[in-house]
């Protein structure tokens, strides 16, 4: 009985599958027939088109022959005359026009075969940025490297050059000259000089050389491209200005339908301003390098509103020092031995698709957590017990674009000193930006900086400052991914 049931079931399945297969075979045959009919129709139509084209070619050939015959009939027996404008024979006019046209074509062809020495030159652009400022307190009370009172200085003159290296990579260089705070002379340095791959598989990209490592949101943005005049305090203090490194960085676009981007890198320093370079001493172990990573994603909350969050980390496991001995208000000195940074960043934007050149609202914020380990020595140089310092800092800005040329905003800064978390600094900066054009921009910003009592032990005092930033661009300028 069981065998019978099994056989019947199998037979039914076979019939069903045969039916389905037969049905599907029928469908396939029908589809094939339809395709064949369509192809036959297409072929007939193609043949008709071909026939018409051949007819057109014949007609044009006849016309060319007739024109040639006409030209030959009208050809003068004497040597060719210069055009006088009095020729009445139409063939002569036509011949003259054809001759002029031929000469022009030959000139153009000849011009195109010329080569120029600079034909392989990179795209070059130049950025200038001047800061006019007034600070109520001197630099000893503000901790700034610029003097208090009235000040004007060329914060940067940047030359940017970029080009393809070969089918596999491109390269770029950013050379920057900025006014030395003491001498006023322009000190030229290479901010970035890196090679970037363009055709690696598996959504990978490698960048190597000198560049700004990808940490957070604003640390790898150049000064003149920041949404505010000065880099937020927490980035200046915990990273050291821009996240400049000499190293290598790998970027991976995860193979998902949703945008998720992962970056990881290593380099011999992280942070561009002195006293940031890591001291390698006689021999740099791998623990003397800096390692960083960032994971970011993106959400379209509505067609006009977007959210882009990210998390970042940086670790320098072991160094001889970073910036030498750091003198403290109590007379002791700290020498940094290990450095850790964790960051979370968020950008929430409202950019209406229709009006995004004229209207937008952007909120950007970053919170950084610093954990550094220091060797401590007293004023006489005697070693004291080492110390780990945990510190927090953040910036948050709101930028409201109400016209193509005008943006107004506000920046809030708060940072605990990386060597003394009890010393805190706050800053409040309203600003307004006037972009006369895409390449010419003025920004007026007022900043009130406040310190708490622990911070004032370092000699820092609350301060009022006004800045006018004027930035301009000439030459080649591309809209990079960072400007999204």
């Amino acid at each position: 009985m069981k065998i019978m049931i099994t056989l019947i079931t199998l037979f039914a399945l076979a019939l069903f599958s045969t039916g389905v297969c037969a049905q599907s075979l029928e469908d396939r045959m029908k589809t094939l027939e339809e395709t064949l009919q369509k192809q036959e129709q297409g072929q007939r139509s193609l043949q008709e088109t071909l026939r018409k084209q051949e007819q057109t070619i014949d007609e044009q050939r006849k016309l060319i022959e007739e024109l040639k015959a006409e030209i030959q009939q009208n050809q003068p027996s004497a040597s060719p005359k210069a055009a006088t404008g009095n020729e009445t024979e139409p063939g002569g006019n036509v011949r003259q026009q054809v001759q002029e046209l031929k000469e022009k074509v030959e000139q153009v062809a000849e011009a195109q075969t010329k080569t120029f020495p600079g034909v392989f030159n990179p795209a070059i652009g130049l950025v200038g940025e001047t800061i006019f400022g007034y600070r109520g307190k001197g630099k000893e009370q503000t901790g700034s490297d610029r003097p208090g009172g009235f000040d004007v200085f060329q914060r940067s003159i940047e030359v940017v050059a970029s080009a393809s290296v070969d089918p596999f990579a491109k390269a770029y260089v950013v050379a920057n000259a900025s006014a030395d705070p003491v001498t006023g002379e322009a000190a030229l340095g290479i901010e970035e000089a890196a090679l970037q791959t363009t055709s690696l598989p598996w959504n990978l990209e490698v960048k190597a050389g000198r560049f700004f490592g990808e940490f957070g949101r604003l640390s790898y943005i150049h000064d003149h491209e920041l949404p505010v005049v000065n880099r937020p305090l927490v980035l200046d203090q915990y990273i050291g200005g821009e996240s400049r490194t000499d190293g290598v960085q790998l970027n991976w676009l995860l193979p998902l339908e949703h945008y998720v981007n992962l970056t990881a890198g290593l380099g011999n320093q992280f942070g561009g301003d002195i006293p940031n370079p890591n001291n390698a001493g006689n021999f740099r172990h791998i623990s003397g390098l800096n390692f960083w990573s960032r994971l970011s994603t993106y959400f379209d909350l509505t067609p006009d509103i977007s959210l882009e969050p990210g998390v970042s980390g940086m670790w320098n496991p072991k160094t001889i020092d970073r910036g030498g001995q750091l003198l403290q208000p109590d007379g002791n000195s700290f020498t940094e031995r290990e450095r850790r940074l964790l960051g979370a960043d968020l950008v929430l934007s409202y950019k209406p698709l229709r009006d995004n050149q004229f209207k937008s609202l952007t909120w950007g914020t970053e919170v950084l957590y610093s954990h550094n380990r220091y060797d401590v020595a007293d004023a006489s140089g005697n070693a004291l017990p080492g110390r780990s310092v945990d510190a927090l800092g953040l910036y948050s800005y709101l930028a409201y674009k109400f016209d193509r040329q005008w943006t107004t905003g506000f920046l809030f800064d708060w940072v605990e000193d990386a060597q003394n978390k009890h010393a805190q600094t706050f800053a409040y900066s309203p600003y307004i930006t006037w972009a006369l054009s895409h390449w010419n921009q003025l920004r007026l910003q007022y900043t009130y900086t406040d310190h708490n009592a622990a911070s004032e032990a370092s000699g820092l005092r609350p301060d009022h400052a006004v800045y006018l930033q004027w930035a301009w661009i000439i030459g080649s300028h591309s809209h990079g991914w960072q400007q999204r």
Binding site: T9, S24, S45, S199, S306, L353, H479
Partner: protein, 304 residues
């Protein structure tokens, strides 16, 4: 026996599934703007899956660089663009971020629809004193339906190069669409006869190709220079010259604020008309033909 029954049934079912016709994967086409998306759907038919980065309401130079475009571009088989530097503000960075080597410039998957277009207004000097100039000429040729046929031809060539086995179907689709478009072109040329010689201004220099095609005179722009907003002096000078030359129409593209075009229209007695620059830019303009119908009809009405 029971334990053997289930595997046998499963085996037979798998056999049947194996004989069912497989679904062919569609060609993933990404276009920068909506008119190209419309043409790509028309030529590609059921063989393509088309997505436009722009929705139609954006300024062509202001399409945002959204990270959500990156995975879409990463998977694309073809990127179809207007060319002539029209997309310089967003496409190069997006292509780099996409990490898709197939669609990078000069690769087979990079379809530049301006190939074969003779550009207008090629600048004699490439200098920012002339604003945001396009070094290769004015890129807004898609507003001339005859020039748009060149774009259709380039899309067709791109699709055929990618999938030559479907050439016959692409050819049929292209010919069918061109036949429809040619009929509409003839209608538009007839409908715009009263507009011949009519002068007009617009906010941005979107319209020289349209003007040349339909015999209108493109008098100038409200922008001081491309990408540079008008100064009060420019508005005054433009209004004076419009009055002196009897310019009856002010065109405002909906991406630009209404205030200045409206003021100029009031100062000069001209008619203000709002016109889309790509399909979807305004209601009832979802396709290229509908958009051109709207533009032509609105211009004719504005002249009356």
């Amino acid at each position: 026996m029971k334990s053997k029954l289930f595997p046998m049934i499963l085996f037979v079912m798998i056999l049947c599934l194996g004989t069912m016709p497989a679904h062919a994967a569609k060609i993933r086409v990404i276009t920068t703007l909506t008119d190209l998306a419309d043409f790509s759907r028309a030529v590609g038919g059921n063989l393509v899956e088309v997505r436009s980065l722009a929705t139609g309401v954006e300024d062509t130079h202001g399409v945002p660089m959204k990270p959500s475009f990156v995975p879409i571009l990463n998977r694309a088989d073809l990127i179809i663009l207007v060319g002539l530097d029209c997309e310089h503000a967003f496409l190069p960075a997006l292509l780099e971020a996409s990490k898709n080597p197939r669609i990078q410039p000069n690769k087979p998957g990079y379809v530049d629809c301006s190939k074969g277009v003779t550009p207008r207004e090629v600048p004699k000097s490439i200098d920012h004193s002339e604003g945001d100039v396009h070094p290769d000429g004015n890129p807004h040729y898609m507003l001339d339906p005859v020039m748009a046929k060149i774009a259709i031809s380039n899309i067709y060539n791109g699709l055929v190069a990618f999938a030559p086995q479907h050439k016959a179907e692409f050819t049929r689709n292209r010919n069918a669409y061109l036949a429809k478009l040619n009929t509409k072109i003839a209608e538009w040329e007839k409908e715009t006869r009263p507009l011949r010689g009519t002068k007009f201004v617009s906010y941005h220099e979107h319209w020289p190709y349209f003007a040349a095609r339909f015999g209108m005179v493109y008098f100038g722009t409200i922008e001081l220079k491309p990408g540079v907003d008008p100064t009060p002096r420019h508005i005054q000078e433009l209004s004076s010259s419009m009055k002196a030359s009897h310019v009856p129409i002010v065109v405002r593209e909906p991406q630009f604020p209404e205030k200045t075009p409206k003021r100029i229209a009031e100062l000069t007695g001209a008619t203000l008309v709002t016109l889309p620059i790509m399909p979807g830019g305004m209601p009832h303009t979802e396709t290229y033909i509908k958009m051109m119908d709207y533009i032509v009809h609105s211009m004719v009405q504005a002249k009356k």
